[in-house]
């Protein structure tokens, strides 16, 4: 019975692996196209956001496409998190950032900036009702003022106004929501970004005080990519002289601009499609990681159970690796695999979550093996069974049954951990939800939907773990 179940599960696993592999390869193949890879956040409207069809759009997207035309290269736009966007450039995840990045001396030490493609500046915005009576940055002491983590505004506020309670968030969209709910007193952002929110998204914000400072927005590339920098500069100059730049500027910020389709809602079908696509990616990553984790956990669990004897040479290396994996944050491991080892986002995600779940499941399997009475092995020997047969027919089935509830819990934990891979720009369900939120401005609704999607998967698993545990206790495998 057990063997049949085992075989059946193996077939399921292989099936899912093949699905995931082909899916990953497809995305990976797209990554490899000889095009110019450009990064932006997709969460900075009107510079970058997802349009009603769920496609990336905005001022920066148009600039990228135009530069591509001048360079005669295809442009592949990659959505990345702002706080890791420069590290991603240095790790060769993309060739340039066309994401409204301001030139700063610190950044210029690490990368080369193109000529500026627009000028903007830092502006303080507060709620229209202005409950805290703030009319300038000097009245913000002890007030909660938000900025995006890693943006120049955050540094500026920290350095110039140490008495302001600076709240840092991952994206502008979250900041707008907080101010609308009056949970913060204001935010500092690009004046164009804030103004656009007032104009197009009908946000109840007002700019207060003069512009804090002006900044030049440009395109960073890696120091060694001198030729690319020159090409981009040439393209920018041509775009300025032939009027293309002005046209794009007018489209988004011109007085007569209809601002194309900005601000119009994504259709319900696009939203469903995006969430479904993201969820399939999430589940595929979870299944592939689980398969890797489980297959590796069995030998590792066996080795962990053999601190003496002929396997003891392997014991300490395996013990150390597993302790390290369990003792360090998965997020750091993900970032290390992605940027440190230079793996593609999908390989980094599946690999990291796979070996991480291996570490947890190996411990579970070890304790399962330990729970099997040594008398069972002796009985196997007394019945002339070989070592392999004793393991396969006697020890493993008992150890596995004892381990099943904990393995189920590891599966639940792994499924939830897939949420972290959004950070390394994998287009899973959370990232898709963030993209939807950046145009629909309904974070509570879509985060709740995503939570429910996870729950639909994890709840049966948790229930199943409970039922199996009860059954195992009834059969007397554990006391």
């Amino acid at each position: 019975m057990f063997i049949m179940c085992y075989k059946k599960w193996t077939i399921y696993f292989l099936f899912f692996l093949s699905l995931t592999t082909s899916f990953t390869e497809k995305i990976y193949a797209q990554d490899r196209q000889p095009s110019m890879r450009v990064a932006l956040t997709g969460k900075y409207p009107p510079f970058s956001y997802y349009d009603k069809d769920g496609e990336l759009a905005g001022f920066d997207v148009d600039i990228s496409r135009e530069i591509g035309k001048y360079l005669n290269r295809d442009v592949e736009i990659i959505a990345a998190e702002w706080d890791g966007i420069l590290a991603g450039l240095l790790a060769n995840k993309y060739d340039a950032i066309i994401g409204s990045m301001a030139i700063t001396p610190e950044r210029a030490k690490a990368v080369n900036f193109s000529l500026p493609y627009y000028q903007s500046g830092a502006q303080l915005f507060v709620h229209r009702d202005n409950p805290s009576k703030i009319y300038g940055i000097n009245e913000c002491n002890d007030k909660k003022i938000a900025a995006v983590l890693g943006e120049t505004y955050q540094r500026y506020l920290d350095e110039k106004y140490p008495n302001i309670d600076v709240v840092t968030l991952k994206s502008s969209v979250e900041i707008f929501e907080l101010l609308e709910a009056k949970r913060i007193q204001g935010f500092v952002s690009d004046r164009l970004v804030g103004s656009w929110q007032i104009k197009s998204a009908d946000r109840p914000f007002v700019p207060v005080g003069p512009m804090l400072y002006a900044e030049d927005i440009a395109i960073p590339v890696r120091k060694q990519d001198k030729k690319l920098l020159e090409q981009i500069n040439n393209a920018l100059m041509q775009m300025r002289s032939d009027g293309t730049m002005q046209k794009i500027h007018d489209k988004y910020f011109g007085l007569s601009s209809k601002t194309a389709d900005i601000g119009s809602q994504m259709s319900q079908s696009v939203i469903i499609k995006k969430l479904a696509k993201g969820f399939i990616v999430t589940l595929s990553i979870a299944f592939a990681s689980l398969l890797i984790g489980f297959v590796l956990a069995i030998p590792c669990g066996l080795i962990l159970n053999q601190s003496t004897g002929k396997w003891k040479l392997l014991y300490w290396p395996v013990r150390t690796i597993i302790d390290f994996l369990r003792g360090t944050p998965v997020l750091i491991q993900l970032l290390f695999a992605w940027m440190g080892l230079g793996l593609s986002p999908y390989v980094a995600a599946i690999g990291t979550l796979g070996i991480n779940s291996m570490a947890y499941m190996a411990e579970v399997i070890r304790s399962g093996l330990m729970s099997v009475d040594p008398g069972q092995t002796r009985a196997g020997r007394a019945l002339n069974l070989s070592k392999v047969q004793i393991f396969r027919f006697v020890v493993w089935p008992q150890a596995f049954r004892v381990a099943i509830p904990s393995i189920m819990n590891s599966i639940v934990a792994l499924t939830k951990d897939t949420a972290l891979v959004a950070v390394i720009s994998v287009a899973e369900v959370i990232r898709e939800a963030q993209a939807i939120i950046s145009v629909t401005f309904e974070p509570s609704k879509y985060y709740f939907i995503v939570a429910v999607m996870f729950f639909v998967i994890t709840f049966p698993l948790m229930k199943m773990a409970g039922v199996l545990e009860k059954k195992i206790r009834q059969k007397g495998f554990v006391q």
Binding site: R381, Q389, K475
Partner: protein, 230 residues
């Protein structure tokens, strides 16, 4: 015939011998008893005979052949063992407990193994237990199943370690009767501290004390001697 020659055994790290200079012949035609109080070395001797322990000095022979030279894969077809804790496989039914070794160790086809297991169970009057799990049957039934499982390999000798330790007096008495019926086909070597039980089933035996063989011979004589010394 199993013969034990000058056998001593010392556990690793221990300073004293658990068994010291044991010499005995176990005739194949009887139920033979290895008697002694707790800690006297009875189970150690059983483990040496069953090859779970290698004697420090001396040897065990079966029909003249040193047991250490017999292929490990076949030794337990000659000498079957039933442990004190029985060690039935809790995840398998009685039937599967019985057919696991014939199918996998002897390569007997599953159907044939099931047929002979059923015959064995019928012979031992426990056929109704075939589809039960070990934790669903009583201690006395489990004892019989463990012996039936070991008999499936048709060993010439069968070692039973403290077979009555978990049985009440009525079940012990039933078990003794049941065992007597089986001794025609298999030679039983019983390790026990239960003298009345030994008296009921065995004809000959030895008495161990502190790892040394005190007496050997007719079971009644051994018991009389022990009773007299107490």
């Amino acid at each position: 015939m199993i013969e034990i020659h000058d056998l001593s055994y010392k556990y690793p790290g221990s300073k004293v011998n658990a068994l010291h200079d044991i010499n005995v012949k176990l005739p194949p035609e009887h139920v033979f008893a290895i008697l002694g109080h707790s800690g006297s070395g009875k189970t150690t001797l059983l483990n040496c005979i069953a090859q779970f322990l290698r004697p420090t000095i001396g040897k065990v022979t079966i029909d003249g052949q040193n047991i250490a030279t017999i292929d490990k894969k076949t030794i337990h077809s000659i000498v079957g063992v039933v442990f004190q804790k029985l060690n039935l496989f809790p995840h398998l039914t009685v039937m599967k407990n019985m057919t696991l070794a014939p199918i996998n160790a002897l390569g007997i086809p599953e159907k044939q193994a099931q047929k002979s297991a059923m015959e064995m169970l019928e012979k031992l009057s426990i056929a109704d237990l075939a589809q039960r799990y070990p934790l669903q049957i009583s201690g006395g039934q489990a004892q019989r199943v463990a012996i039936a499982r070991a008999l499936m390999l048709q060993p010439r000798y069968m070692l039973l370690d403290e077979p009555t330790s978990a049985l009440d007096s009525q079940t012990t008495s039933d078990f003794a009767e049941w065992l007597t019926e089986l001794q025609e086909e298999t030679c039983f070597i019983i390790v026990t501290h239960d003298l009345p039980f030994a008296q009921q089933v065995a004809s000959h035996g030895i008495f161990l004390q502190d790892g040394v063989m005190k007496t050997e011979g007719n079971i009644q004589e051994i018991i009389d001697q022990q009773t007299a010394s107490v």
